[in-house]
Amino acid sequence: MDQRDALKAGLERQPGTNGIWTFVFIDMIVFSLMFLVFLSEKIRLPKIYAAGQAHLDFRIGLTNTLLLITSSLFMADAVASTRRRSVVAVRRNLLACLACGGAFCVNKLFEYHAKLSAGLSPAHNSFYSFYFFITGAHFLHVIGAMIFFIHCMRQNELQMVQPGYRRKLENVGLFWHFVDLLWIFIFPLLYLTRGA
């Protein structure tokens, strides 16, 4: 095998397509910007941010963290199942991911409702503007991923054993792992770290 063939073979083993990696990279930059602006505001208004964080229930955040990490495990297993051509296992794992995502969404909606009912809207102060903006953007990513799970589950058995399906599921998996990774940053940033 010459160098060019080896490179081609290596690229073909890369999980996911270039498109999803591009998307993840750009999304990472956008969220990094959000986090940086959040931190600059936190330094500028420490009391408002400390008071805002004190109103957040870290148990909800922790539950959401556990849900997403668990669902990532199911996602990884779903991708591995495509390699074994085990259609039943793929569907089962995707259903589990969907259930975890659904539970996350329900949790999040209850949390938003509680805040809004207490008069804590995005316009209340700088902390709550960011709280709703950052978690809202993340929430939309979770909804998007759930739509992809449903799409992947709806493929018939013949489609699910094709190489293209494995590539598609790898893309969805990468996206879901990125959503999970984002939350691992968001949870401590919003719920745990408190300034003076």
């Binding site: 270039n18 498109g19 591009t22 750009i26 910007l33 505001e41 995005p122 903006f133």
Partner: protein
């Protein structure tokens, strides 16, 4: 229209993009003293008049200029839409979304700039309360109708990413465009805050949004549009992924 004339027209329309950038920075930004704009939600009417309209009479000139040059954005958007064809050479819904957004964004620049020009021209004849009302009303229109430009960017971004045959625009530019379009969403908070990153002159709602829109979206697509209009007709069809006529 013969081919050489069509190419000349396309090139002329493509250059409207850089022309828009230069003129709008000068008229709206520099003469209009909008870098950054005054934080009207934190100012009393008299403060707004004293610190902005009465202090900078050139705002009127700048805004009338911006009302003219703002529409060059629309002209450029039309040229861009004409390039966004599917494999059969048809304009699809995403192309129409792009051009609709481009038309409305250009209109916003023209209309809002004209309103601010009126505030500047009448600053010594009208109560400060009325000046602030018109100023604020116009900024609400300018900022809170961000979905106009988000729609344009989604149409363009999705066409760039989903049309696998075209190589006019790289896929990363499509993703960046969509990301910037989503980044506009916090503009909904602008009317309700008096300071911080989401105020009208804030780090997010002014500096990040305007600079990414103008340079990371508009500048990038300008580059690729100009590159495309200088290709030969055959090369243009090839990179657009259009099938040759049978």
């Amino acid at each position: 229209m013969d081919e050489s004339v069509k190419r000349a027209v396309a090139r002329g329309l493509a250059w409207c993009g850089p022309f828009f950038v230069v003129t709008i920075i000068y008229t709206w930004g520099i003469l209009g003293h909008n870098v950054p704009p005054p934080n009207m939600m934190a100012l009393t009417p008299q403060e707004l008049v004293d610190s902005y309209y009465a202090k900078y009479p050139e705002v009127a000139t700048g805004m009338i200029g911006a009302a003219t040059f703002g529409l060059f954005y629309t002209i450029w958007s039309c040229q861009l839409a004409s390039m966004m064809r599917d494999e059969n050479g048809q304009l699809g819904a995403l192309s129409l979304m792009e051009v609709a957004g481009g038309i409305l964004t250009g209109w916003l620049f023209a209309f809002c700039s004209a309103m601010w020009a009126a505030c500047s021209l009448l600053v010594h004849q009208v109560n400060p309360e009325i000046i602030k009302m018109v100023h604020t009303f116009t900024w609400c229109i300018f900022d809170c109708t961000y979905m106009i430009t988000t729609m344009q960017m989604f149409g363009l971004g999705l066409w760039t990413i989903l049309n696998k045959r075209q190589t006019i625009f790289p896929a990363w530019a499509g993703w960046v465009t969509i990301a910037i379009g989503v980044g506009f969403v916090p503009l909904v908070i602008m009317p309700f805050v008096t300071d911080g990153p989401f105020a009208v002159n804030g780090l997010w709602n002014f500096w990040i949004i305007f600079s990414t829109w103008l340079f990371a979206f508009f500048g990038v697509y300008n580059f690729y549009v100009l590159k495309h209009v200088y290709r030969s007709p055959e090369e243009q069809k090839r990179v657009a992924g259009q099938f040759a006529a049978a």
